[in-house]
């Protein structure tokens, strides 16, 4: 009985013990199981993305590379997934090895496997698939793969490509083309489709296209703001080939702009090698430039002109032509002449500024800086009028050869040096003071220093100056340094910062008097250093004139170099011309801007068949589909554009609306593509290209940055116009394919182009059905089971570079070529399913 009672006594304890054990088991086993929740993973989808993205030809995998090198893989553009699929059909062992090799690169503790249909191709796992508790499956269908149990089917494949498209040709005007009636020679080939005119022009004008009046148009708002003129209604007046476009009005000038013609052409392009000058009937005044692609081999210039005034042509900073003709003249400058004047290597691969203008006419700047200039004249004894040669006995007995008559009578040559100097200085005074606001001063030196009686402070009174000049007489030594220092002091004292300061230092001999202010211990060096000091400390430009056969050319040349001016040598007969030339230089240097007006009735003609012809080597001929893009600047000094990796740059131009200023520098990706100061600091003698080419070697795939400055001199720089653009032309070889598909019928496409125009076309042309497809910014619609539709859609994707649903290349029905083929006996199914499974 007692035993029975005791058993009853542990009933609750046993019960509690069992309950506790259950609780502990729950803790130990169930709870952790519950908590080992496995979050959904994206890695299956990742594997699809990676294998569908990587091309078999680019994948960095030794097994795949080996298959490529042994030509077991021939189509390098297939994705890794497609290649595995192809092997799956042809050789499942290769499929498995390739897939396993690719999976081996992945580091994961997850169990993953790739199935094609019902076949496991590759796996990376630590838990056998048979032991899985949970599984995640990502599925993708790929076409063109036959499952191994199926048979052969008939499929269709198509290819779409453009045989030709509309090309865009630009015809650029120079940075400044004037003044008068203007014309341009424009040559293109193919049927014209569109024309645009964008220019800055100073006045209202009539437009003539091939001698046909084509409308009257208003001037542009300003020289920095181009106006776009709609002349599309006159498109039928353009011809395939050469065209003359004329702008007629009152003293017209164009400060940058272009005519853009869209026309049909083949897909081949060749770089132009002829620069056509614009035609001008009025005052020939061109600031422009042209680009020499590759290494310059030969160059010739053909000028067709009529001008009573001397016309000059500067290529870079070199004058290659000076001439005038009162009748219509055709002038050719051959390469043999140009090659002796120009450094062809320096000009290669560059945009070269060119300046075509008139010499010896009175240009007056609209915004002229007033000039203060001193004539620093040598009145040393050697400057006296004298008789050269002749019999000294004759002279002795005739009372000295002190007149031209006595000198000639004794067989000598009369050398009226100081007389000529006076005459030249009088002419110089007239030239300088011809422009209101200018002043001239006089400093003379002889004996040991400045000859005060011959000096005069700055004045605009020509008669006072001439009276003083006529009192000059020669005597003693040649203290050049003293003359320069004295003129410097007078300019510092009497001139001001907003006036251009210059001096003309003339001497007929060697400096032979030291200058205590400089103190080099050498009279010549004292003179040179005085000129340097004048330029560097007081911004005075120093010109130098060597007069007569005893001139110390080296010293005077050094004075001009250090003084920022020019050196001229003169004999007695042309000293007046030299002083006039210097007066012209001084006035030209005072021009603030290109824009000028002309005094007097000048009529000169440059015909638009004038050109510069050049041969250069090292250029490639490009084949493919060519597209030209316009990218506006982001602000007045810079712009950006991008080159896609599948395209090659043919040409990049920066167009600069510099107005009356010069485009001074253009850089691409922080490297100079154009630097005007390479050709000199006096911009007024240099050209100003409106279109500056960026050499292809400065352009990179991806983002590119362009910077531009304009200026009046190398040290006077500012930004340009916010209307500037980058115009670049790309080429790419475009064709698109379809996968093997059910059908190859086509459809009626509605397509939107980048200019927002639309076309509706049948593709192929023979399509007679009613199916509609769309490729526009609003929607994209086509049947993926139709090979032609798919190929065309894939082509449009390639042609939509932005991509914004608008196709960047304009084309017509006839341009789009379709080739389709029926393919039988090929492995093909619609739905081979690929799965990536993850289990745990």
């Amino acid at each position: 009985m007692g035993a029975i009672k005791n058993k009853k006594g542990i009933f609750f304890s046993t019960d509690a013990l069992i309950a506790t054990i259950i609780i502990l088991l729950t803790i130990i086993i169930v709870y952790p199981t519950i908590k080992s929740y496995n979050h959904h993973s994206e890695i299956s989808e990742d594997i699809f993305k990676v294998l569908s993205t990587l091309k078999i030809g680019e994948v960095n995998n030794s097994y795949a590379k080996n298959l490529v090198s042994t030509e077991k893989i021939t189509d390098l553009n297939k994705s890794v997934l497609e290649q595995i699929g192809e092997f799956y059909n042809e050789n499942i062992t290769l499929a498995k090895e390739l897939a396993q090799s690719v999976l081996a690169d992945l580091d994961t503790k997850d169990n993953i496997g790739i199935w094609f249909g019902y076949s496991l191709i590759a796996a990376k796992n630590s838990t056998p698939y048979e032991n899985l508790k949970n599984i995640e499956v990502e599925t993708q269908v790929i076409s063109g793969i036959e499952n191994q149990t199926g048979g052969n089917f008939t499929g269709y494949s198509a290819r779409a490509f453009l045989s030709k498209s509309f090309s865009v040709s630009y015809f650029y005007f120079g940075g400044y083309v004037g003044d008068g009636n203007l014309s341009a020679n424009i040559t293109y080939y193919g049927e014209i489709k569109n024309v645009n005119l964008e220019i800055t022009i100073n006045d209202d004008f009539d437009l003539y296209i091939n001698n046909n009046f084509s409308g009257h148009y208003a001037k542009s708002v300003s020289e920095f703001s181009p106006q776009v003129y709609n002349i599309s209604s006159y498109i039928n007046r353009f011809y395939n080939g050469s065209n003359i476009i004329e702008f007629k009005g009152n003293g017209l000038y164009i400060a940058g702009g272009y005519i853009k013609i869209t026309h049909e052409t083949s897909t081949q392009t060749e770089s132009s090698k002829k620069y056509f000058f614009p035609g001008i009937n009025g005052v020939v005044n061109i600031y422009d430039g042209f680009y020499i692609p590759g290494k310059l081999e030969n160059m010739s210039v053909f000028l067709h002109y009529k001008s009573n005034y001397t016309m000059f042509l500067n290529i870079g900073n070199t004058t290659v032509f000076n001439g005038s003709s009162s009748s219509e003249t055709r002038q050719t400058i051959p390469s043999s002449t140009l090659s002796s004047l120009l450094n062809y290597n320096f000009l290669s691969n560059k945009t070269i500024p060119i300046r075509l203008g008139l010499e010896n006419v009175s240009y007056v700047s609209n915004i002229t800086q007033p000039v203060d200039v001193f004539s620093v004249a040598d009145l040393s004894g050697s400057m006296a009028d004298a008789c050269g040669g002749g019999s000294w006995i004759c002279c002795l007995f005739s009372g000295g050869c002190t007149t031209q008559a006595k000198c000639s009578g004794c067989g000598g040559v009369w050398q009226p040096k100081i007389s000529s100097l006076k005459e030249a200085n009088n002419a110089f005074v007239d030239s300088i003071l011809n422009n209101t606001g200018n002043k001239v001063g006089l400093v003379t030196y002889r004996n040991t220093g400045v000859y005060a009686s011959g000096c005069l402070n700055l004045t605009n009174n020509a008669s006072v100056l001439k009276t003083k000049i006529n009192t000059w007489s020669a005597s003693g030594n040649t203290p050049i340094c003293a003359g320069i220092i004295n003129a410097t002091k007078r300019l510092e004292r009497d001139s001001s910062q907003n006036r251009l300061k210059a001096m003309v230092v003339m001497s007929d001999g060697e400096a032979n008097v030291l200058c205590s202010e400089i103190g080099t211990g050498n009279a010549k060096n004292d003179a040179i250093n005085a000129a340097c000091l004048a330029k560097n400390s007081s911004n005075i430009t120093v010109y130098a004139v060597g007069f007569g056969s005893d001139t110390d050319t080296a010293t005077l040349q050094a004075i001009a170099n250090c003084g920022g001016g020019k050196y001229y040598y003169s004999n007695i007969t042309d000293i007046i011309n030299i002083y006039n030339q210097i007066a012209q230089d001084v006035i030209e240097a005072s021009y603030n801007e290109q824009t000028i007006s002309v005094t007097g009735n000048i009529s000169t003609i440059l015909y638009p068949d004038s050109y510069i012809l050049f041969d250069s080597s090292g250029q490639e001929t490009n084949y493919g589909l060519i597209t030209t893009y316009e990218q506006p600047f982001t602000d007045s000094s810079s712009g950006n554009f991008s080159i896609p990796s599948d395209s090659k740059v043919i040409e990049t131009n920066v167009i600069s609306y510099s107005g009356p200023r010069w485009t001074s520098t253009v850089s691409a990706n922080n490297q100079y593509a154009y630097k005007l100061s390479d050709y000199g600091s006096n911009f007024i003698r240099l050209g100003d290209p409106y279109s500056i080419n960026i050499p292809n070697n400065l352009i990179i795939t991806g983002a590119n940055n362009i910077n531009l400055t304009t200026g009046l001199s190398p040290t006077n720089l500012s930004s340009g116009s916010s209307y500037n653009k980058i115009i670049y032309t790309l080429i790419k070889n475009i064709s698109a394919y379809s996968p093997i598909s059910d059908s190859a019928d086509g459809c009626i496409w509605n397509i939107e182009f980048e200019d927002s125009s639309n076309i509706t076309i049948r593709i192929p042309l023979t399509y007679s059905g009613t199916s509609e497809c769309k490729y526009n910014s609003a929607e994209k619609e086509y049947d993926e089971n139709d090979a032609i539709q798919t190929a065309v859609y894939n082509l449009f994707i390639l042609l939509d570079t932005e991509p914004d649903g608008k196709i960047d290349f304009k084309f017509s029905e006839q341009d789009l070529q379709i080739s389709s083929s029926t393919i039988t006996g090929i492995p093909y199914i619609k739905s081979t399913e690929v799965q990536v499974r993850r289990w745990y």
């Binding site: 609750f12 304890s13 509690a16 990742d46 990587l54 690169d105 994961t108």
Partner: protein, 173 residues
């Protein structure tokens, strides 16, 4: 006999009472053990772990996208995605690196997370001036992160023309 029976009845009641007490003690110990275990179980703060997993997946999804805008930069970035055409874009990853170096907290703001993170790939990440093991909290050594709770997100991505594993560590500082 009656007395015996009485005594016997009392003894029976005491036996059951003691048994009940022992049972109560055993059961209480079981309950206490459960409580203590739950208190000390590593998943003591499952909401934090869930938050880490959630944020980690969001960051991984963000990074493994093209981003917003597609060609984002430091001044206009909304979503810092480092892919283009399903491949890691080296320009974008360098921009991400530069931003994380200059302003790591800003990247956390973009990812909308309060946790620290560090991501790396199978290979070192190439930069224009060298390479780095990974991007995220400066000075992180992925092999020795000291954290109360840490979650590792693993994804796959194409980088340098080969499939690579994308690791994202995210932890509670």
């Amino acid at each position: 006999m009656e007395q015996f029976i009485l005594i016997n009845k009392n003894s029976k009641a005491q036996t059951w009472g003691i048994d009940l007490m022992i049972a109560a003690i055993i059961f209480s110990m079981g309950i206490i053990a459960l409580f203590v275990y739950l208190q000390n179980y590593p998943g003591e703060a499952p909401e934090n772990i869930n938050a880490l997993v959630y944020d980690g997946n969001i960051i991984a999804d963000n990074l493994l996208s093209e981003g917003t805008p597609k060609d984002w930069n430091s001044s206009n970035v909304v979503i810092m995605g480092i892919l283009s055409d399903n491949k890691i874009n080296e320009t974008k990853i360098e921009r991400f690196y530069n931003i994380s170096i200059l302003n790591y907290e800003f990247t956390k703001t973009l990812f909308n997370t309060r946790f620290d993170y560090f991501f790396f790939l199978t290979d070192n990440i190439s930069l224009s001036d060298g390479e780095t093991r990974g991007i995220g909290k400066v000075g992180t050594d992925p092999a020795s992160i000291s954290a109360k709770n840490l979650v590792k997100i693993t994804r796959f991505v194409s980088y340098k023309n080969k499939p690579q594993t994308f690791y994202l560590y995210i932890w509670e500082p």
